[in-house]
Amino acid sequence: MQVNDNKEFQPLIVAFCCNWCSYAGADLSGTNRLNYPTNVKIIRVPCSCRVNPIFILRAFQRGADGVILCGCHPGDCHYTSGNYFTRRRMTLLFSMLDFLGIERDRTRVEWVSAAEGAKFAATMNEFTEAVKKLGPNRRLEDLRCRKQ
């Protein structure tokens, strides 16, 4: 969580992006100078299926207010099938977080191809807004990691 001078809540968003599609899509939104908030910090992974639920919990623990996972569109995975596994894993994980009463809008999966720079920027704008509305992550935070 970052706090600006104007005191507006600035959420911290961690975005896991697969190397082949979404990371390239993020690069493309840069090449096209499509703005999205600085709140979003991208971590590059080879494939969306590399993202362990533990990483997502870890991000929330350490102070992220939202976590978004981006991968190739189903059918376009560089590794044939990785994102299909991602889809099942994240559906179940998010459903479980929802079941435990964690706000649904803090987590998201989005398929962004290497050509969808505009979609990447729009998604990040939208997601940041949604998390901003929820306010700081309180339900799944580690008090020891809370910043002043």
Binding site: P53, I54, F55, L57, R58, F60, Q61, P74, G75, S81, Y84, F85, R87, R88, R89, M90, T91, L92, L93, F94, S95, M96, L97, D98, F99, L100, G101, I102, E103, R104, D105, T107, R108, V109, R139, L140, E141, D142, L143, R144
Partner: protein
């Protein structure tokens, strides 16, 4: 039933089919039935117990036992056979080294439920139809069997043994239960209500690890919670986050592998309804990816290791239920 089991165990030991038996013996109290290994007819005669308190699922012990020299005899209730099948599928047990005798179970009793009626000093029970006579040091008490039945048996999913070398008694059918009712009730609450519910439950967790240690799906050589490199290592929950994390990760690790044997909730000293987390996954898997019962067979692909091209998107979580 106990006599039949004991006599069959002695036969199989005598004819050399097996060289050990895994069964149960009494603990400190009459209702404290705990798994035990027997190597001779004498030991069996002395200690072997199979009664209304014999709930423990012994299949997990077979991970280690089946790797030892010689064949072991295991008496498995219906729910235990699912666990064994799942372990067989995951190559965790050597099925060839196990002689399975399927035994019937008409539901086991939960001593806590009896104690909750104010009955103490329990020395034994007798079931007569629906009536349960509880023998205590202060004399006999009666109550209904249903009131004393353990929760996991109240929502028994199957009376059918899915793996066995022989059966004692008749085999039953897969039953249709209301086991997802509570999950559904929670799903219909608001997010805040669910959060409050789980905070109330999980904050009771004392991280005794009983749920993990009894779980027949949790057989990892080295559990992630014991591994300093895993990023989630912790011995005792320091705060609410860690309470949540332990149970989320544990449920996720057994998702698609949990046979819903209910041991986790049975052994929880804090009475946290942990099975609800597993059932939530089972319910989601059934409704999103098609009916799947872990342990029903030894060949099918686990739902999380499988996919179809037209699986639902993760956004389905946003689209359904109460916010």
């Amino acid at each position: 039933m106990q006599e039949a089991i004991i006599s069959r165990a002695k036969q199989l030991l005598a004819d050399g089919t097996v060289n050990r038996v895994i069964g149960w013996k009494r603990g400190e109290f009459a209702y404290d039935i705990t798994p035990a290994i027997f190597e001779s007819p004498e030991e069996i005669d002395a200690d072997f117990v199979y009664d209304d308190f014999t709930s423990a699922n012994v299949s997990k012990y077979l991970v280690k036992e089946s790797r030892k020299e010689g064949k072991i005899l295991a008496f498995l209730k219906t729910c235990d056979t699912y666990s064994l099948n799942q372990l067989t599928k995951e190559h965790r047990v050597d099925r060839d080294n196990i002689y399975v005798v399927g035994i019937p179970s008409d539901g086991k009793l939960d001593v806590e439920k009896i104690k909750a009626k104010g009955i103490t000093g329990i020395t034994g029970v007798e079931r007569n139809g629906d009536i349960l006579t509880v023998k205590t040091i202060y004399g006999d008490e009666t109550m209904s069997v249903a009131d004393a039945m353990s929760n996991k048996c109240l929502s028994c999913k199957s009376k059918k043994h899915v793996t066995y070398d022989e059966l004692i008694g008749e085999d039953g059918e897969v039953t249709d239960t209301n086991r997802f009712d509570m999950v559904e009730k929670l799903e219909n609450m608001t997010s805040q209500e669910r959060y409050d519910f789980w905070r109330n439950e999980l904050s009771k967790c004392i991280r005794c690890n009983a749920c993990r240690n009894v779980c027949p799906a949790c057989t990892c050589e080295n559990c992630v919670f014991n591994n300093p490199d895993s990023g989630v290592e912790n011995k005792a929950a320091a705060d609410s986050f860690e309470e949540n994390m332990f149970h989320i990760i544990r449920a996720f690790h057994v998702a698609g592998r949990c046979t819903d044997c209910g041991e986790c909730s049975r052994v929880c000293p804090q009475n946290i309804p942990l099975h609800l987390l597993n059932r939530k996954f089972i319910k989601d898997i059934n409704s999103l990816y098609g009916e799947y019962q872990a342990g029903a067979d030894t060949t099918s692909k686990a739902p999380l290791n499988n996919y179809t091209f037209d699986d639902c998107e993760a956004s389905i979580v946003h689209e359904r239920g109460v916010e």
